[in-house]
Subunit: 210 residues, 2 copies
């Protein structure tokens, strides 16, 4: 069994969404100061790094991250190679020969190369799923979509893809680092924190090759 | 496949270690205020709720949480029933008939009943693993120990069990909610966040029954 960690490392200089606070890390106690133990205190936007969106993120009053179905967050997933695609439209997704019945789809795009330097200035021209692509995913029974930049939706069309996907209870995993991952089938495990009433959560995501 | 979630929910009133700040949750933006999306900001001690300790927590200069071996955090685990035990000494652990070769051990104690109200005042009299128990775990090849209160070690003997276990690269998972879990074998997945240079991290932990 080989485990591939496809999670971004959380640190102070990690690129975040425009206008978002960066990650803050400090110490509540530190052995270097003669204290018994070293204890870190962390503050962050829950949509930092590798993270999961809950319906509440774009749909007022809808469900929150601690209620997301673990049966969707854990299970077989397909990694598809979309490195030649600039926008994940319905036509672009249809061109990828995704087998019927694929419930968890992780899309490797040119975005992953941005993680060669995860302190880069926010890249507005990342590859995302537009509204037609979101509808294609829903129509084809995809229950979880994973992308390799900080939003599933293109920067010039943020709201419609999120609203469509979240409204159809498709789980959105953003900020995956798919560098070096060979396209194909894996066991996928994505575990967000269990944060009460939250619109999202940072998560650890892995691919298991059996 | 049945997934049991053995993670505490993170919220403002969740009991924390004495003197630790409680969890802070606020909103960076909110649809109720007419903004496009709802975005939560979270601040917490990384040793809050269900969490993992890294060697750095008690051993200055030693390894940090983002380097913990995923091959230890994922795999078969045994849940043992220790609800009649008041202190997890070497003798107490030996009495539990733990099969040789058990690499991941989750100990269900009377502590789990404390999670019936996770806003309870911190309970100093929780059941923990003392130094003799820690040495027993190391001598018997246990690579991950999971406990159902906020520290692996008893409140009157915090440092030696931590130092022994972390010094032997035993992964410590604390704050599991094992209420209602039937003792026996499961597939265990515990995924802490990938926080750079941190002495610990909150985590999501699940048991998979196959």
């Amino acid at each position: 069994m080989t485990i591939h960690d496809i999670t971004l490392t959380i640190h102070r200089s990690l690129v975040v969404w425009p206008m978002s606070p960066t990650v803050a890390l400090s110490h509540l106690s530190h052995q270097a100061k003669g204290e018994d133990a070293t204890v870190t205190y962390m503050s962050l936007n829950v949509h930092t790094g590798t993270h999961v969106d809950a319906p509440r993120h774009f749909l007022a009053g809808q469900s929150t991250v601690e209620t997301l179905d673990l049966d969707v967050l854990v299970g077989p997933a397909l990694v598809v190679d979309a490195r030649s695609i600039e926008r994940l439209t319905a036509d672009a997704l249809a061109s990828l020969n995704i087998p019927p019945g694929t419930e968890r789809l992780l899309v490797l795009t040119r975005n992953s190369e941005l993680w060669n330097d995860n302190t880069h200035p926010f890249a507005e021209d990342y590859v995302g799923v537009d509204a037609s692509g979101a509808q294609w995913l829903i129509d084809n029974g995809v229950r979880l979509i994973g992308v390799d930049y900080l939003s599933v939706a293109p920067y010039d069309e943020l709201e419609p893809p999120h609203t469509l996907l979240l409204g159809a209870d498709v789980v959105i995993v953003e900020g995956l680092d798919l560098r070096g991952i060979k396209p194909g089938e894996y066991q996928f495990v994505c575990l967000p924190l269990k944060i009460a009433d939250s619109d999202g959560s940072p998560a650890r995501a892995i691919l298991i090759e059996t």
